[in-house]
Symmetry: D2
Subunit: 261 residues, 4 copies
């Protein structure tokens, strides 16, 4: 079945985006990313080595034809910092795609609605393809859509928490109202969480911690890959409703009386 995800005119076969943090080393990261089938991989601008392209440069490990880079502004605390970082990233990586992250609080890395909208508006004007990481705030999502972001990336739970879809009630509203793809970001801690996001109609998920800290990250990446496919398939096949009670079943007695002799 051909059911691509399209963001800003670009088609993706995989609905699983990956982050690059917290892996044991670059080799392991590369193997997990390849196993995941992901075509969009995000990395913090601050992890890029601008001075010399030495052995240890993360970009060497992401150099695959099917992998598109999605630089992010992780660590930015204001719109200005994020915009500055975005421009640097565009120049360095030759891509105008950007995961916009602004989180003034270093403890929970919660996104800042105000600064994110401000930065998004400016960056869209500058020709960036902007995918903002935000709270699961339905009104904010519509505002970001209005200024021209390519997708919205509401969080499922606090980043790194592995708690799953704690913002379910709000994701439902966001998905119902959005005219741009909805990518659930942050909090997805297991393949079942990723499947659930797709089942409810999210267009994609971004996963990092759950894969990076797994005992076997390559196998975990594969598990996420197929869980995302399962979730999307179930979405297309349409699940039945949750029921409050079982459908009554006929008792066995009569059958036994007829056939038991």
């Amino acid at each position: 079945m051909n059911d691509p995800l399209v963001i800003a005119g670009k088609s993706f076969q995989s609905r699983l985006f990956l982050g690059t943090g917290k892996f044991g080393n670059h080799q392991e990261m590369e193997a997990a990313i390849v196993a995941s089938g992901s075509e969009l991989v995000t990395m913090a601008l601050k992890r890029i080595d601008f001075n010399d392209k030495e052995e240890d440069d993360i970009l060497r490990y992401l150099n695959h034809d099917h992998i598109n880079l999605l630089p992010n502004t992780s660590g930015a605390r204001t719109a200005d910092e994020a915009i500055f970082a975005a421009r640097l990233a565009r120049e360095a990586l030759q891509t105008n795609w950007l995961k916009l992250e602004i989180h003034p609080d270093p403890r929970y890395l919660m996104p800042d609605a105000i600064e994110t909208l401000k930065a998004a508006e400016q960056l869209v004007k500058e020709g960036f393809v902007v995918l903002p990481y935000i709270h699961a705030d339905p009104v904010l999502c519509k505002r970001l859509e209005a200024v021209g972001v390519a997708a919205v990336m509401p969080l499922g739970a606090p980043i790194g928490s592995n708690k799953g879809l704690r913002t379910l009630d709000f994701l439902e509203i966001i998905i119902e109202q959005s005219n741009v793809p909805v990518v659930v970001d942050a909090g997805i801690g297991a393949p079942s969480h990723a499947a659930a996001a797709l089942e409810m109609g999210a267009d994609a998920v971004l996963v990092n911690t759950a894969i990076a800290v797994a005992q076997d990250s390559v196998q975990m990446a594969t598990a996420f890959k197929i869980a995302v496919e399962a979730g999307r398939m179930a979405y297309n096949a349409k699940l039945g409703a949750v029921q409050q009670r079982a459908v009554a079943s006929s008792p066995l007695t009569e059958f036994l009386m007829v056939n038991g002799e």
Copy 2:
């Protein structure tokens, strides 16, 4: 990876068991079962046509080499009824495998602990391979194990409810303590629920309603197939722990100061 499920000495590649009720028709049921990759399929004894093997006989549609039949005693209200039905099923279907279901209440189809243990004990003595459907009751699971059942099948939620793993806290204990395979039965309403059961260490799941009532039951069966594989894979790859807060991240400022000039 070779990671078979073994029940009573028999190996299964698939950890997804299917029920046969509620499908639109037998052709659709057959197609979904084949798509699911399931090797163990349960059907109610009362649905078997003993008098003549006519066109409409459900068994004609389950006649595949890789599919093993698991007759069940659905509709039985007492141990005696279930035992009687089991003997009939063994004779008719030439299998000693049995899904033991005893539910006196026709509304919620909740299993009866007392009668189920009594019937299980007798049927094991008669040489049956008994897989009892039960409440997620850790002590009852150990008792059934003690009388020789081949696996335990605790429910995840009320049958037909599609509510998922509502008995999570008890399934955890059952899985930790069990020496026979644990198959989560009833309540699994989405591929994400099936994946979650496998992730937490359940050995298999039995699904019926969620596939049978989906708009596209064949595609839904495929979704369950791969979700179960994803869940098992994640279990083997070992998920990280749920965290209460994010790991602190370094701010972008210093990086921007160094590289931004």
Copy 3:
């Protein structure tokens, strides 16, 4: 409002039952029990000092006119042990009320359905007022009712876990079907959990750990007292249904146009 709970013909104004374990000392226990307003207090038979009524005897601290003793068989692993203990308790404490607990597993203290039913049947015949602690198993509850127990005490979550009403879906069925009072026992870790149990129609709750291990157990006992009253009141006042979306509201614009000039 007069809305007593009646068990075995005896009326209770309070729907909060208390356990006596885990308190720092007997004085603190007594103060908390008095503050809770509880009229039914359970204590393990094994904690009673049969040999001499010395200073430290727990019973001295429970000697209040409004407090009824409910000896329990905690620690019993079989019906026989429980029956033996029950007879001892009746003789020692001069009460035929009994909280029947049988849990072969010392780690999770999960109740044993089979032995509990067997013991209940015998003890009812011997004239005991039996309140069995059981899994939230709807069929077992009906069976216990059939042999004449005075109330059923399904667990809300594993004992001592403070997790709250994890068995919600099954408690709903039990409450709907029961002809004897339903007392939610085990797992209630906060006044909000107790209120929720009463709101959904449970007749009472039994609390122990949450009060005993609180930093200020007397104040916590008071909190539970009034939370239980709140829950019962809400049950009688009938809550509205959970809604999937807000009711639309009229915009302010027209009002501002009319009144703003």
Copy 4:
């Protein structure tokens, strides 16, 4: 115990705020508000009859010494509308207290972070005591605090949904970080939800639908009153931690051997 809630220098004995919408009639509303013990009651500006103080004016029913009015800007879709409405309200009701609500979407009444912050900043400058209704967004809460709001009012669930504390994970962070009172607003559908909010450290809750649509709204108001007290009391008394397993108990056997002879 003297444990008042202080907002903008004003002390409240009650931590339950009430809304005035959806009641059957004004008499019923008044009776419920009085029963609730609430000292802060919000009403939409648009419901006030500016032209003549006739029989039906809602304000006649709120005229009690202990009740403080908290006009709200419900229906406002922009900061400008809200500011305009706020000024009207101040003039009409002779209070500078204001519940700031801006929700461009009439279906879910979700709050708008951007416009709310903008309006809050302006209204604080104009001398209003601003209590903004917002998403459970920790960063936004800190920003509002920085511009001088008197309290923050994050939502627990979609307004009118009665779903309870669905934003729990974010409320925890907000409560931990806030230097102004945190009032959980929207979604609280039962006394147990209100108790849970207070237990986790919220300073107060605002309830409307759950009381207004109850079959007996006066009794429900009383239930909320005492549930809120219970929740606060439990917060002060400090609950124990949620446990993964029971504490092991000693078996009864030895005791029976010693005492049973």
